[in-house]
Structure formats: structure tokens, C-alpha cells
């Protein structure tokens, strides 16, 4: 999947939980979910479940540990859909 397509899908997933619209509008690979988008940590798991469903993958607890930025989420999704 192209990076821009992947970012577009991730944007759709995180949007309902975003509390900083400016950060969302300027979203890049470096954007972090909690620090930049001000997503409540109680919703991180919802995002991970939504990512699993969208890409039909399963993310182990050890893998989700680092899934706190757009870049980290992209790396995990890419490694799963490639295998």
C-alpha cells in the first residue's frame, strides 16, 4: 500500500478521537496520538482495534506498546500486510 493511502486510512480511524483539530489537519508521519492529537489514552485501544479491523490484521500486546505515532502505526501495519 502506498504511504499516502495508508496515512489517509489512519486519519479516518483516528479522527473520531482527535481533540486537537489543528494537529489533525497538519498530520504527518511524525504526529503522535496522545502528545499531538490529544487523543485520550482511554481511546488508544479503540484505535488499535479499529486498525486491526480495517487492515484485517492482529496486533500483539508487545507490538502495540510502541504504537503511539502515525509512523509507528504505519510500520506495524506494513509489516503485517506484507507477511
Amino acid at each position: 500500500m502506498k504511504n499516502e493511502d495508508l496515512i489517509a486510512k489512519l486519519k479516518t480511524i483516528v479522527q473520531p478521537y482527535v481533540q486537537d483539530e489543528d494537529a489533525f489537519n497538519n498530520l504527518s508521519e511524525e504526529t503522535t496520538f496522545v502528545g499531538d492529537l490529544k487523543i485520550n489514552s482511554a481511546n488508544l485501544v479503540d484505535i488499535i482495534l479499529d486498525v486491526e479491523d480495517e487492515f484485517d490484521i492482529r496486533i500483539e500486546n508487545e507490538e502495540m506498546e510502541q504504537m503511539l505515532s502515525v509512523k509507528a502505526a504505519m510500520a506495524i501495519v506494513n509489516s503485517k500486510i506484507a507477511s
Binding site: 482495534l49 506498546e65 503511539l68
Partner: protein
């Protein structure tokens, strides 16, 4: 070290996949899931344990200087409806939880001396809520130190952690802020 966390229950009901087993497996150990299912308060039990984990995570992540999403590494021990402990690595940190029909909040602290206050917001706007929370914390801290509010400031450090300053000097007391939905709280130790 202090950490706190609040969950607006109405908000959580609408905005979370808490009813799914996959949700539970990502956040809770099997022992914790047994506790969650031990009575008919499954929804409240989930958020009770979540606020315990999250309040202790705020302490340990500050100490470690890094952020992670590793909720199952934080093991909750519930003593009663208010008191509990969270075990993380070799540490055990005490927690105090308040449960209301509208919210659940937990404060975790490595020493028993702390103050906290809960408040309800009129707006869901994040920046508004954040500045209201900071003002509440400044007021309480100034009263505690017996100084006028204007001498106290809250400034975030390079890692985004809010810290108290008085007349430009960093103070030793620690501050933790939390908000979710329409509820917020601060805790100071």
C-alpha cells in the same frame, strides 16, 4: 510521585469498544478480567481498573522518561471500593478511587500526602478544559502555600509535564492533571 486519571462514564459508554473481548485482552490480565466479571458492574469495573493503571502509568512513565502503551504490565489489586494497589515491575503503588454514577477517578501516589479536586466542565473544548484545570490547580496550590494566585504559574517542561513555579522558581511539589468528557481533576503531592 503522583498520577491521576478520570473517566467520564457517559462518554466512555458511547466512545469505546469496551464490550468486546479483544478490548479486554489488550488492557487486562486474566486475573483482572475475572475481577471485571465478578459482579454485574462490568462496565464500572473496567473503568475502575483502567483509571488505576493509567494513574500509575503517569508516575512510572515520568520516572522512566518514556511513553509506551503497555497496560497489561500494570497489575491491579483491588482491596475495596476505594483502595487498591498497582504492581509495575518490582514496585507497588497505592491507589484511591472515587466512583460516581457519572465518573470514576483514581489518584495514585507513592506517599500518602496529596490533595486533589474534581470539577465539571461546561465545554468539551480541549484547550478550554486544559486552561480551566490549570487555573484550578494554581488556585489550590496558592492556597496550600498561602500565597496570592498570581505568584504561582504552571509551565510544562520539555517532556510535556506540568510543573509549579513560584516567583519564577521551580517548586518541588508535583502536579498531575486529567480530563475526559465533561470531568476533570488535578492532584498535587
Amino acid at each position: 510521585m503522583i498520577g491521576n486519571d478520570i473517566v467520564d462514564l457517559e462518554f466512555a459508554k458511547r466512545n469505546s469498544r469496551w464490550q468486546e473481548q479483544r478490548f479486554l485482552d489488550k488492557l487486562f490480565t486474566t486475573e483482572e478480567q475475572d475481577f471485571i466479571r465478578s459482579d454485574d458492574q462490568q462496565f464500572q469495573n473496567i473503568w475502575r481498573l483502567w483509571t488505576m493503571k493509567e494513574s500509575v502509568y503517569k508516575i512510572t512513565s515520568r520516572a522512566e522518561g518514556k511513553i509506551r502503551f503497555n497496560p497489561t504490565d500494570f497489575k491491579c489489586i483491588v482491596l475495596d471500593s476505594n483502595q487498591g494497589h498497582v504492581i509495575y515491575k518490582s514496585q507497588s503503588i497505592a491507589t484511591a478511587t472515587t466512583t460516581d454514577k457519572s465518573f470514576i477517578q483514581t489518584t495514585a501516589c507513592s506517599n500518602p500526602q496529596w490533595i486533589s479536586k474534581l470539577f465539571q466542565f461546561s465545554s468539551l473544548d480541549y484547550p478550554t478544559q486544559h486552561s480551566e484545570s490549570v487555573q484550578q490547580a494554581i488556585k489550590a496550590y496558592a492556597a496550600y502555600k498561602n500565597v496570592v494566585d498570581k505568584f504561582v504559574a504552571v509551565i510544562k517542561n520539555s517532556r510535556g509535564i506540568p510543573q509549579f513555579y513560584m516567583n519564577g522558581h521551580l517548586q518541588p511539589e508535583q502536579l498531575s492533571l486529567t480530563h475526559h468528557g465533561l470531568y476533570g481533576a488535578f492532584a498535587i503531592a
